[in-house]
Amino acid sequence: MKKTLLTTTLLILPALVAPAQVRLVTVKVDGLACAFCAYGLQKGLKRVEGVKDVKVYVDAGKAELRFKEGAPAGLAEIGPAVKKAGYTPAEITVEVTGRLIDWNGKPALAIDGAAEKLLLDGGDALRRMSAGRNPPSAASLVTVVGTLEQINPPQHHGHPLTLHIKEIRVAEG
């Protein structure tokens, strides 16, 4: 009975934990100075892989992208999409849930369903979390909010994008 209950719990537990995915991306856009500017920007950002919805906040000068659950997220496409629409991408903030992994000796986040990993930069935040009451294990799901470093394509080839951590926490189940 106890063994059955434990097995059932272990089977249910992963389903209760938030799936690994990109949740929300906020990109600040310079030059977004008119309503029809927003139209072209919205159209361009909707073409980014995995995007479900785009909202453009004109006066705030930013766009919010929400992604489809479980689908790959084209994070590297966001900056170029803004440029192609005729504006200048500034800070890109990402809220993403994934699993902590090691990539060539560096901490990284693996996003299930996504081809790319994100290198994590922000040693203090990671160390504080590891030293905390409930340090994450290698298989833990964590939610990270950070700014995406935009790397030029020649340097990006085969190299993960870097996420500069603002906040990191164990994902809620």
């Binding site: 310079d30 030059g31 100075a33 008119c34 309503a35 500017c37 909202k55 006066d59 005729g86 200048t88």
Partner: protein, 331 residues
């Protein structure tokens, strides 16, 4: 008075031979020049002035509008004089303009074709008579190349170069009911291929937009006649009346207001190489306007009030007119 050198054609009763019966055709030449230079080439918000943007509306919006130009009241060297023929000229045009962004955020091409109606009403032999033409005018192809783009949060500064070619697709041999050739400014087309080069500057910051453009128009000759070269210059200040804070695009109550100065200075027309005294000059309009943007299209209207007219020789004066139109995002 001007006339085309077309010896096979019978002369118009208004042509040289009877000065008292001449139509001030040369006096109307500024009219024709104004048509392609002002509304037809002023695309995108603002209403009568160009903008340095090549994306958004500039690269993806179909545009059409109704514009009018009216002239009446004779002026000689700046002084009002009696007009024994009591002439009135009205021009109505509906240009249809399609843009296409050839290179994303860099180069846009626009093709335009105007539908025109021109009327001149005058008194002759104590009877009120009307000469009119309707149909397709001269088409144009315009390009705009973005050269400078400086973006900051909530604002942008841009500069673009423009170039255009006007093609002789409009008829230039319309005749009146008696078979006489109408004067060149009343023809639907100029009969010539003309060229324009220019530049546009834009600075937009949150609710305020400033745009300025200038262009030089090279006119070539057709059948011995050439309209004078001209310079156009336009300045616009726009302000977003509503919403006060633009949150998420699209806002349903978006209204812009504009105040513009639209000007043109033209050389004299030339017939057989000789300048015509009653042609050319400088004209400046003050144009308040308003735009309503409910979704992905614009409805706009503008008054055009002539505030400065320095017309060479004897010409009909320009009267207040209007522009009403729409733009619709296609792509």
């Amino acid at each position: 008075m001007t006339s085309r050198t077309a010896s096979p054609r019978p002369p118009s009763p208004a042509l040289p031979g009877n000065r008292r019966r001449r139509l001030p055709a040369a006096a109307l030449s500024l009219l024709l020049l104004l048509l392609p230079a002002a509304p037809l080439e002023a695309q995108g918000p603002p209403i009568n002035t160009d903008t340095a943007f090549v994306n958004g509306l500039e690269g993806a919006a179909f545009r059409t509008f109704l514009f009018s130009v009216r002239r009446s009241g004779l002026s000689r060297d700046g002084r009002d004089v009696d007009d024994p023929l009591d002439r009135e000229v009205s021009v109505y045009g509906v240009p249809i303009i399609f843009p296409y962004e050839l290179v994303k955020n860099k180069l846009v091409l626009a093709v335009g074709l105007p539908i025109l109606r021109k009327e001149m009403t005058l008194t002759r032999d104590e009877k009120r008579r009307t000469l009119s033409t309707s149909g397709i005018g001269d088409a144009f192809i315009k390009s705009k190349l973005l050269l400078v783009q400086h973006d900051k949060p909530g604002r942008t500064t841009r500069f673009a170069m423009t170039g255009a070619i006007k093609l002789p697709t409009g008829k230039d041999d319309e005749r009146d009911s008696e078979g006489n050739l109408l004067p060149p400014p009343l023809q639907l087309g100029a009969g010539s291929v003309d060229y324009t080069v220019g530049g546009v500057f834009t600075h937009v910051r949150k609710r305020i937009g400033f745009n300025a453009d200038a262009g030089y128009h090279f006119r070539t000759q057709a059948r011995g006649f050439a309209f004078g070269d001209s310079v156009t210059y336009n300045v616009s200040l726009g302000y977003r009346l509503a919403p006060k804070v633009y949150k998420v695009y699209p806002a349903r109550n978006h209204i812009n207001a504009y105040i513009e100065l639209n000007g043109q200075s033209s050389q004299r027309d030339r017939a057989r190489g000789r300048p015509l005294g009653d042609s050319g000059g400088t004209l400046l309009y003050l144009s308040p306007g308003i735009q309503f943007i409910p979704a992905n299209f614009i409805i706009e209207a503008s008054l055009r009030l002539p505030v400065l007219q320095s017309l060479n020789g004897t010409q009909l004066r320009f009267q207040p007119s209007f522009t009403v139109g729409m733009r619709w995002l296609l792509f």
